[in-house]
């Protein structure tokens, strides 16, 4: 018997919604992330006058950068229907490489940092695409391995970065604006162009929307999958460099848990884990929401032991509101 049992996703006309009710719900879905962000800003600036000061906003932006850059790569991975759990470990690996080479290469330590990030992503992508192992498993293992490499070489001790020009370029400020924020804006622009205006971006959506359909339509699914993991690794290379510059050191614990924050940023921004759809704008909002939530709760002086509870609830709440249940069908 053939293995392809029909799965029916064609919707009979009879289950369609009235167009007005549908579009209203679509509007709520679409605008919820920005609404949530505005509400958070309003609440925190009301609770503390310090929140809206230029200095604090720049701190927020700086804090958001590493998460945001990692989440940009994650957006492609998730839209293609995969997941990358090795993000935090790659960031640590890249920061280590940047720290180790900054003394001799100075600002050009960016090259080995990005190369290592891309290579780590390439390994992930090849095992997923050619080895046909689910990305969750591959990157779960990779997370442990990459973190292990960092621990092996550092022996747990931090490696400091002293090169002035390196620190100046990657964590200095021009006219009060941190360079890392400017770099992040450049990366956002590149990611948005790739996702929205290139053929590659369409192929990523097609692979996530229906892998078998994409394959049978002549899309080189393997190449697309490898490319998104390389892209994610490359972004992590940049994120590691920026994080190292900001901390003036690479530590073995750097970026721990970042993968979960990056996934949360993508999802809170309205990109479903089921793949096929998603946006860079959403990811920017998601990363800002997560960062502002932490920053604001600190400024307001909320019990640090209570903060995680709030973060978790906000994550589930925003997915509860933004998820399009009609398109997903089965919730696992």
């Amino acid at each position: 018997m053939s293995s392809a049992k029909p799965t029916v996703t064609e919707r009979a006309e009879t289950t369609q919604q009235a167009p007005d009710a549908r579009s209203r719900r679509d509007d709520i879905r679409r605008f919820f992330p920005i609404l949530l962000l505005l509400v958070l800003v309003a609440v925190f600036s009301f609770a503390s006058p310090r929140f809206l000061q230029f200095n604090n906003l720049m701190i927020v932006a700086q804090q958001a950068v590493v998460l945001l850059v990692a989440a940009l790569g994650m957006t492609f991975v998730i839209i293609a229907g995969s997941i990358d759990l090795s993000v935090g470990a790659i960031v640590a690996l890249a920061a280590l490489v940047a720290a180790a080479t900054s003394a001799s290469l100075g600002i050009y330590a960016i090259v080995p940092a990005c190369l290592v990030g891309a290579a780590a992503g390439l390994v992930n992508g090849v095992v997923v695409a050619k080895g046909k192992v689910p990305s969750f498993i591959v990157t779960l293992g990779a997370m442990v391995v990459y973190r292990g490499i960092v621990l092996f070489f550092t022996r747990g001790a931090p490696i400091s970065i002293d090169d002035e020009r390196f620190l100046d370029l990657y964590s200095g400020r021009t006219a009060g604006i941190p360079h890392s924020v400017l770099i992040a804006i450049l990366l956002i622009a590149i990611a948005a162009v790739m996702l929205n205006l290139t053929v590659f971006g369409r192929e990523v959506r097609a692979v996530g929307g229906g892998e078998r359909i994409a394959l049978l339509t002549g899309i080189r699914v393997d190449r697309v999958k490898i490319a998104i993991f390389v892209l994610s690794g490359l972004m992590c290379g940049m994120a590691g460099l920026l994080q190292g510059a900001r901390a003036m050191a690479a530590t073995a614990q750097l970026g721990e848990g970042l993968e979960l924050d990056a996934i949360a940023a993508v999802v809170v921004g309205g990109t479903p884990l089921t793949g096929g759809v998603g946006s860079i704008q959403g990811t920017i909002l998601g990363a800002l929401i997560i960062t502002i939530l932490s920053n604001g709760m600190n400024i307001v002086g909320l019990d640090p032991y209570f903060q995680n509870i709030v973060k978790g609830l906000v994550l589930v709440l925003s997915v509860f509101v933004t998820i399009d249940r009609k398109k997903i069908g089965i919730i696992k």
Binding site: M1, S2, A4, K5, P6, T7, V8, T9, E10, R11, A12, E13, T14, T15, Q16, Q17, A18, P19, D20, A21, L197, T198, V199, F200, G201, R202, R205, A206, G209, G210, R212, I213, A214, L215, L216, T217, G218, I219, R220, G276, V277, K327
Partner: protein
């Protein structure tokens, strides 16, 4: 039991699915609800079964008012629905599937009494006259037998009416026959039996009574034999189809150097096979599932790698190792499962139409050109969509299939491979698809079409190959002079 529904109406938003439809279902008669996609036949059936509520009108069973609010309530009152979709859980046993939701009946001291449950399930299956043993693993059975297990599940609550919502949609000939026989058996036992279909052969085979619907209104009630096939079809479509479903064949037979040629091509599921298709020729391939027809398409498309032999396309050797290589050689492939292989339902019509070969300027997607391409294809294939930006999932089955066909034609292919191009597509959309295919062939496109619909093979093909047991059993050079029976004889 006699079910009388009067003046049933139902709207979904601004769409009127049903208006003022009345119907009487008599015990012991098999009643067909006939109509094109969107005619309202499934909605009517679902209202009778409690899966949908009506906005207006009333239903009575044996004179007593009946207004079920759920499937469960209808079940309690003796009315059961068999769905269009397959609802068998393949990781459970046959008996567990039959009694899904009622396993508590077989509880004995807190444990499940497997033996008693199996005996009861077997008894139900036996009344359907299907050859299924509860000891068999589900994976060994075909979809028709799965569907019969669903019928047994319906019978497990001892209903007096069983309603079938287009339940043969995913079955092939042989499988559908089993289900139709089961319907007949239920009718003969005095149950009320109603089914939704747009397959004239099924209606011919089992219906005693038929009600034709069109655009949510009743066209009329008829007894079997009162209308011939053409009479039914033209009432379904609302226009005269006497000039035929199929476009005329060209006066001269397509000739010239073969566009696609197989020389002793073998693969898993295909014995060494040789065939050739001329430019402008439509080659039909008949055969049961697994007989090798689908495998020929998959090898030509690069989905399955051949084990031996050689393939040429346009005279040059080509063995596509991946679908991407096939498409790059301008071999377009329309797979058999529309929504899991053919197109992405959540993507827009435009996204699907240009997916195989997105227009580009360097690395960038050329949006303006894509829009023009999509609009041209929508006009060429008469795709009914609000715009090229509409979500594909909002289209009806026939229009979805036109989108898949449009995706294939958009690359300007040399060879078009079709796997059951009109499965689940209503008559109106079918004629348009056939016309488009013939027009493309006239431009020189070579088409290979595998189909379970023998009428379609006879009506459209220039030549038919019949597959049996992984090899070509017969080649029919003049389809106009052959019959369904002749093809079936070669198939089995």
């Amino acid at each position: 039991m006699k079910i009388v529904a009067t003046d049933i109406a139902r709207s979904f938003g601004s769409t009127r699915a049903l208006s003022g439809v009345s119907i009487t279902l008599e015990p012991g008669r098999v009643h067909a609800l006939v109509g094109e996609n969107g005619a309202g036949k499934s909605t009517l059936l679902k209202i009778l079964a409690g899966a949908e509520r009506s906005d207006a009108g009333s239903i009575a069973i044996d004179g007593r008012a009946y207004a079920p609010r759920s499937l469960a309530e209808a079940t309690a009152l003796g009315v059961r629905l068999v769905f269009q979709e397959i609802t068998i859980n393949p990781s459970l046993s046959i008996a567990e599937n039959v009694f899904s939701g009622q396993l508590a009946r077989f509880r004995k001291r807190g444990l499940l009494n497997q033996a008693a449950m199996n005996r009861a399930a077997q008894a139900l299956l036996d009344t359907l006259a299907v050859d299924v043993s509860v000891a068999q693993p589900l994976a060994r059975l075909d979809l028709g037998q799965w569907k019969c297990i669903e019928v047994a599940r319906a019978l497990s609550t001892e209903p007096r009416a069983v309603l079938f919502d287009e339940s043969t949609a995913f079955l092939n000939h042989r499988e559908a026959d089993q289900l139709l026989a089961a319907m007949r058996a239920l009718g003969d036992r005095g149950l009320v039996v109603a089914f939704v279909s747009h397959h004239l052969a099924e209606i011919d085979a089992v219906a005693d009574q038929l009600t034709i619907l069109k655009d949510g209104r009743k066209v009329g009630d008829f007894t079997a034999g009162e209308l011939d096939r053409e009479g039914i079809q033209s009432r379904m479509v609302g226009r005269d189809l006497s000039r035929g479903l199929y476009p005329p064949r060209p006066a001269t037979r397509a000739s010239g150097e073969p566009m696609l040629r197989f020389s002793n091509v073998a693969a898993d599921g295909l014995e060494p096979t040789s065939l050739s298709v001329a430019p402008g020729e439509i080659l039909g391939i008949a055969g049961l599932k697994g007989a090798g027809g689908e495998r020929i398409l998959e090898v030509a498309a690069g989905v399955v790698r051949p084990r031996g032999g050689s393939i040429t396309v346009g005279g040059a050797p080509l063995a596509a190792k991946t679908p991407a290589e096939g498409w790059a050689a301008r071999i377009a492939y329309l797979p058999g499962e529309r929504t899991t292989e053919g197109l992405i339902v959540d993507a827009s019509v435009l996204d699907n139409l240009v997916m195989a070969k997105p227009p580009r300027r360097g690395p960038f997607f050329d949006r303006a050109k894509a829009r023009a391409m999509a609009q041209a294809m929508i006009a060429r294939l008469l795709i009914k969509a609000s715009s090229e930006k509409a979500r594909s999932g909002s289209l009806s089955g026939g229009n979805l299939q036109k989108v898949v066909l449009g995706k294939c034609l958009a690359i300007d292919p040399r060879v078009l491979l079709l796997n059951n191009p009109t499965r689940g597509v209503d008559v109106g959309a079918r004629t348009e698809i056939y016309r488009s295919l013939r027009e493309a062939a006239k431009e020189g496109l070579s088409i290979v079409m595998v189909s379970e619909d023998l009428n379609e093979l006879i009506g459209l093909s220039d030549r038919i190959l019949v597959m049996r047991e992984k090899r070509i059993a017969a080649s029919i050079d003049d389809p106009a002079a052959t019959s369904e029976d002749a093809i079936i004889r070669h198939m089995t």
